[in-house]
């Protein structure tokens, strides 16, 4: 970035994603928030401020904080030993286990809610625990989702640590536990902080699981925004909560970015992973336990989908061709599946183009302080959708993009664009570290040999990044298949996505509807799992790591 031309080129490249982010993220979110402040046509913060006095809001806020804290603690506790087993040891089946651990993260939130309720219901396999509808159940579901984030983030970090430091300590007489406490753990802290802050973010903005599992007893800020907007039509209250959420999340993202800065740049492991020894039995047992915890709801879901009226059968799957008992749906359930696939394709394409562009832009390391600051701001800005309530985004779309200058009310691009915004940070976080790990001198060598900028990109960056690009594609596709928060506002009943169909089905009484919800959940889960297993074969360390 030394010449004026290069600088102009950089800004031109940045213009597209920035414009899209402004138009389809900042504008709707700000629009949604502003609606609360300008309720009667003039600026009036009164109703917004009054919201903070309501006891419902207090309890939602309190529940958000403590459930997120508990969910984060649980995820870290469960995830760290697994990160070690999966990223430091080499054993048969390791890649499959890695993929399985990743599955919950991409499972549609609605599916997870349904699976946990099925597992914990009085009639379910774990009914004797009497946890159905409890806060413990919600926290377990939050942990279920986010173990993968801890495993991936801390694991990638761990794999990047120079093992010789631990070896030097061991040679000086430190027992394995002393090595961990005095050398490894201090080095891992930035990775754990980074993972924990992202997990906290995800827990605090969890929507689908809390909506499905919380019932009337538990609501967090996110579901409260949903209830306030859709049921009570209290936009001022919703806006107040959105503003609060954005503020808290910005602080968290700043903390996370700081932890990120301390992270090692390289994501590739230098050391041959070693074979397991007897001393690793505890870590293996722990990993097996965590895996059981992660797979139990999924397995139970499959079993439940195959039971019709106390018998085994495929009736629930056949019923997907119908509109459900007492016409719970306006269209047959399978239409939802087709819609989901189509929308996911569109969302993936958009997120991939924008995300790759952003990843390329933020992976540059300019010399000048000013330019470096620009890169830093870009990096942070495109992480915002990670934490901003998908509900706020969805509702913002609804109220800002329905009239000129931009009227997308009937556009088929509406949902794909919204989902692409949600998935954008995941693409950036997967691709950017790989691009950053390319030694800049390789690019310099290529251009000194006469390669133009495009040629450099093809000859140096692409060979490094194509796996990450492919992985990001699959990852985005899976996330978009299950996206529920924003989509729940935007999908019309005559043209729903599969998660919306599932939510409708469990909202209506009737065994057949419940059975169909199970079958639809299994299909959705199967689709996302297949994609993740394929993606895992690419062995991209940065995928799912934050």
């Amino acid at each position: 970035m030394t010449t004026v031309r290069a600088r102009v080129g950089y800004l031109l490249l940045a213009a597209l994603p920035v414009a899209v982010l402004g138009l389809f993220f900042v504008y709707p979110v700000v629009g949604m928030v502003a609606r609360g402040f300008w309720a009667g046509g003039s600026f009036d913060p009164g109703p917004v401020l009054a919201t903070f006095d309501r006891s419902v809001v207090h309890s939602a806020l309190w529940f958000t904080l403590w459930s997120a804290a508990a969910g984060t603690a649980g995820s870290v506790l469960l995830g760290v030993p697994v990160a070690w087993a999966l990223h430091r040891l080499r054993f048969p089946g390791r890649d499959t286990v890695r993929a399985l651990v990743m599955v919950p993260f991409v499972l549609p939130t609605v599916v997870v809610g349904v699976a946990f309720r099925q597992l914990l219901a009085a009639s379910g396999p774990l009914g004797f625990l009497h946890l159905d509808g409890s806060a413990t159940a919600i926290i377990a579901a939050l942990v279920f989702f986010n173990v993968a984030v801890v495993v991936r983030t801390v694991g990638a970090f761990w794999a990047g640590l120079d093992p010789r430091q631990a070896q030097a300590a061991a040679a000086l007489g430190a027992t394995p536990w002393q090595v961990f406490r005095t050398v490894t753990l201090p080095a891992l802290v930035p990775g754990i902080v980074s993972a924990a802050s992202v997990v906290f973010l995800f827990c605090a903005t969890a929507f689908g699981v809390v909506l499905v599992m919380g019932g009337l007893r538990y609501a967090n800020v996110e579901t409260e925004i949903y209830l306030l907007t859709t049921q009570e039509l209290d936009l001022a209250g919703a806006a107040a909560l959105s503003v609060l959420q954005v503020a808290v999340i910005t602080v968290l993202l700043l903390l996370s970015a700081r932890a990120h800065r301390d992270a090692p740049a390289a994501v590739r492991s230098v050391e041959r992973m070693r074979r397991p020894r007897v001393g690793d039995a505890a870590a293996f047992a722990w990993t097996a336990l965590v895996l059981a915890f992660l797979m139990a709801p999924v397995a139970d879901l499959v079993v439940a989908s195959l039971r019709v009226g106390g018998r085994w059968g495929l009736g629930n799957y056949r019923a997907l061709g119908s509109t459900g008992e007492r016409n719970a749906l306006l269209v047959p359930a399978w239409v939802g599946l087709l819609n989901s696939l189509e929308i996911a394709l569109g969302a993936t394409a958009i997120a991939l183009v924008l995300g790759t562009l952003v990843a390329y832009l933020v992976s540059r390391r300019p010399r000048r302080v000013g330019a470096r600051r620009v890169v830093g701001v870009l990096d942070g800005a495109f992480m915002l959708p990670l934490g901003v309530s998908a509900v706020t985004l969805g509702f913002g779309f609804l109220i800002t993009l329905d009239h000129p200058p931009i009227d997308l009310r009937t556009s088929p691009a509406l949902i794909p664009i919204a989902q692409a915004m949600v998935a954008l940070p995941l693409v950036v976080r997967t691709v950017a570290p790989v691009l950053r790990s390319v030694d800049p001198r390789q690019r310099q060598a290529a251009s000194s040999l006469g390669a133009g900028p495009l040629r450099v990109l093809l000859a140096v960056d692409l060979p490094h990044a194509w796996r990450a690009l492919l992985a990001a594609t699959g990852f985005t596709f899976a996330v978009s298949l299950g996206e529920f928060g924003a989509t729940s506002f935007l999908a019309r009943d005559d043209n729903p996505t599969l998660p919306v169909v599932i939510y409708r089905l469990i909202g209506h009484p009737g065994n057949e509807n419940f059975g169909m919800a199970m079958a639809a959940s299994v299909l959705l889960a199967a689709a996302t799992i297949t994609v993740m297993l394929l993606v895992e074969r690419l062995r991209v360390g940065s995928m799912g790591a934050f």
Partner: protein, 346 residues
Amino acid sequence: MAADAAPVALELHHVTVRFPAPGTEARETVAVDDVSLALPEGQVLAVLGPSGCGKSTLLRVIAGLEEPASGRVCFGGRDLRQLPTHRRGFALMFQDGQLFPHQTVARNVGYPLRLRRRPRAEIEARTIELLELVGLPSYGDRMPGTLSGGERQRVALARALAVDPRLLLLDEPLSALDRGLRERLAGELHGILAAAGTTALLVTHDQEEAFAVADRMAVMRAGRVVQEGEVAAVWQRPADAWTARFLGYASVVTGAAAAALRRAAGPDAAGQSLALRRSALRVDAAGPLGARVLTARVTPEQIRLTLDVDGVGALDAVAEPHEDVPVGSRVRVALDLSRTAPLPSP
């Protein structure tokens, strides 16, 4: 040197290490191939070899970080097979020191002492003593990130020596440093190890590092030890042409050419091959050999030449800086046999 009097500390018996070849789990490469070595107490052994010869793997086996496929590692007569790294009582020092970046220099040096729960006063006193030993007395409060490469290596050495290890393992301890610093530190390292009476095993690809620090030397090539002995003995009698070249001999001459050289040097005329240091051939008006100058390059100490020696071929040689030896001119050359080494015929 009283090598024979000292009891043997470290012994390797037929140690072999195999690795899965990169990329495939099925094929295996042999990293260390049937290596046997003995290191007497209080001595420093340098394992010398080019990169990829298996010397670092050998070090890791001794440290207990790698398991041999077969063979035994013994210390003081005891088999170390079941003994994990941290109970071996060794210390390991890496090329880049591997100081713990989150601890001060003093805490790094005191680390092994804290592991052993020594009293605080003792730890402080010993830390000061060690930092003085390595010449960094006022560095206790610095963080590793603020040190230069050489300082970091000294701190790493102090840390490794803190608990008087039974065996000090050094993995290319000076290779990351620039030349001047490396030479100075090598001398200091030798002095520090001798003063502490430490038994040490040093792994390096740099023969000068080995000469400066070690008492004994083992040359490794492709996983095998090709020669082992006292430093001077190895230097004076390389086992073969490859070893001679690796030890810094400029050229190896065989067959009739070697015989011609020997005849020129004197009456001793066996049919052996000959390894020559650059300074073995010297331009000398009274020399017995004739030659033509192929190239000449002036250095501060001498003029470095390549000569086409009559009846022998192209060889390296030197001339005094004041001599006039233009390229293409004819010169007379003398051979100094003390700067050559006889090699067994190939």
